[in-house]
Symmetry: C2
Subunit: 249 residues, 2 copies
């Protein structure tokens, strides 16, 4: 998803983050067409031959990431895996010079809290109950999670690096002091966050504007707005802090 | 994707088909964010370890369907596979009484012509050239194809059965005469097709209305309209004919 040469100009990074918004909204709206189907998240109730312990959701996520790993997905900095023990890539992925200064991309892996926030979101996003569409439910969960993960990690890594370059002295000093809350404050631009939130609200409404309410589950844009405000944005900043703390000098 | 008991009322089937439109449009728009990347469709140029003959696209489609097969996807009538030699399902899928009268769902498998139409569409949908995003290109191809396949086969099977039930005498006679063109004419409702096309045009515009043209590739709705008019709708009707010719008495 990166151009040949990464430009660490903050406005370009912000534009790229903006371009990922539609994809996240599409995938959340598609998941919302199915009931919550709580059973798919329960360990040991997958009904999947040879899998006694895991939930159907975990099995699907793991198999998807095992496939994706073979295609080289996790060689891309912003594609962080939710599961472990993944096979090596079977193709070479030509990455541009990312400009990132990390020993190992997985030191910035927010998949745990992304997962928790997503699972919590599902209770508001999906109709309650069980429609038996377990396969479709877990399929759309995985696609939504991957889109959210890409956005959070892209922001964490590239916004982190870009802001550092903008004022290396200030950020180095805060890292040296190991002052996470001061780092977080230095990384925060409230007016930018407000603009993102306003934009997501407008898009979530516009994307659904022509849908037939009888055949499509229509989602209150505020549900997606709250997820951006309470999860996507703060987790991205948490990732920026992690990035800066682990950035190679 | 089916309710517990399938209702073969034509207006309900049409509503379900309408609900699938958003998903198709979302997935086409997401694919359009990447260049055509012609190399990913060339056999023998996958760069995928252990795969000398196939294209990267074919490898991805095959692996996706092998995973999906284990989750029982192809036990659902409208989910027809593009590839063959698939593993058995590892879970039991509870299907409602579909009301369909087919010995084997795969006698109505339009995946060949769907694939041809999609590959042709790509040249209009995607920016020309090569952005190196091969993994993302094939990933989005597979998701778009699955959404299109679901829509075409759902229509073929359920619209076919519903129309048959509406006038069994007429359709049985046409099947007995083996008169495909008369069957096609009897299945055609031009005003319904026109309404679908008009709706797709409006949706394709509305879904993109708030996207930032600088960061998202905006697709002329007419490209998607033409695909519906020239591929989705005629292939669905071709599938209805196939369904009726193979329908068990």
């Amino acid at each position: 998803m990166l151009p040949d040469k990464v430009n660490l100009d903050l406005s370009l990074i912000a534009a790229r983050l903006e371009g990922l918004e539609e994809t996240i909204i599409y995938k959340l709206l598609d998941r919302a067409q199915f009931c919550l189907n709580a059973r798919i998240y329960e360990p040991g109730k997958s009904g999947f031959l040879g899998e006694e312990r895991r939930s159907l959701f975990e099995i699907r996520l793991r198999m998807q990431e095992q496939m994706d790993a073979q295609f080289g997905r996790f060689m891309v900095p912003e594609e962080r895996p939710f599961t472990g023990e993944l096979p090596p890539s079977r193709r070479s992925v030509s990455l541009p010079d990312t400009g990132l200064r990390l020993e190992k991309y997985d030191v910035v892996n927010l998949c745990g809290p992304i997962m928790a926030a997503y699972r919590d979101l599902l209770r508001r996003l999906c109709p309650a109950g069980d429609d038996g569409q377990y396969g479709s439910g877990v399929e759309h969960d995985v696609y939504a999670l991957q889109a959210i993960g890409r956005r959070v990690h892209y922001g964490a890594l590239y916004v982190g690096e870009s802001k550092f370059r903008d004022d290396p002295g200030k950020f180095s000093a805060l890292v040296d002091k190991n002052d996470s809350s001061a780092l977080l404050a230095a990384l925060t631009r409230q007016e930018v966050e407000n603009a993102i939130i306003a934009r997501v609200r407008v898009k979530a409404a516009a994307i659904q504007a022509q849908a037939n309410k009888i055949v499509r589950q229509i989602i209150d844009p505020e549900i997606i707005v709250a997820f951006y405000r309470d999860a996507v944005i703060p987790l991205t900043k948490e990732g920026e802090v992690l990035y800066l703390k682990n950035r190679k000098r």
